[in-house]
Amino acid sequence: MHIPDGYLGPATYGTMFGVTLPFWAFASWKLSKTLKARQAPYLALGAAFSFVIMMFNIPVLGGTTGHATGTTLIAIILGPWAAIISVSVALIIQALLFGDGGITAIGANCFNMAVVGGLVGYGIYRLIATGSDAKSKRRLFAGGIAAYVSLNASALLAAVQLGIQPLIEKSSTGQPLYSPFPLSIAIPAMALEHVLLFGFVEAAVTALVLKYFQKNEPEMLG
């Protein structure tokens, strides 16, 4: 769901930069109050994990591919604000160096995958896991569900941003100027593959790494 350059019109990508900027600012402020310098290696690890896990493309029926983002896992271990910053760094490097996601769409992609992904994932995890032991099965279950819902929320947002383009960006003859597929195509196409497959991949990745932390680094799970 890395929206490329040319799919979103200026009204949408401009708005998405405007919406994402305050979250970057707040996340930075929050980290400047709470983050210890010795925790920097963990943010680096989180960003690296998000970068590399997104390279694992998985095919789905219909000839397209998708991938996990690692956002919920990072939010569970480092907190939602650290997740927003580290996943955004990964997305910005992907756009600038590898053309994976457009530079005009950096605001939209960071909002979908880092901001909403991180906040939804963390919120659901806390809702289910609060009060449970750090080594409990409930934590794994909570992480899996949170990851599944979080990735689907990100995908749905991307589908809506793409799907509104033919409505709001038209030439004088009524031809779409940017992404040409209406909501009635974009939402089912994006939602279905994430509901049926990629959401489960994100859930499995999250639960598996959480299990590793429960076994080897339980103190990091608070």
Binding site: V52, I58, P59
Partner: protein, 112 residues
Amino acid sequence: MTTVKKLWIGIGILALLSPLGLIIPALFDASGAWGEWGLDKIKKLIGYIPEGMQKLAELWKSPMHAYTVPGQKPGLAHESLVYILTAVIGIAITAGLAYVIAKLLGRKNKGN
């Protein structure tokens, strides 16, 4: 071994395994993510290239587009090696930038 070192080994293993993200879609003839097509594919899908898309699509020329390097040889074996190389480069730059940002943000907080 420290936690950080162990986790870095995990990232290294993921980088080495990353060509699976190239090979498995190729086996299933899957070309890429929905809604991330290039201009050629868009033209095939709908018969034309939307005007605004045409202008914006090539706004930015990334140096290692789609995890390839300039002058790369064809073939899945070579593509896989380059995929690992770009993974390592991407991981190093991403981690480095996140590290610097975190150090700067956390510089005033002392102790544990």
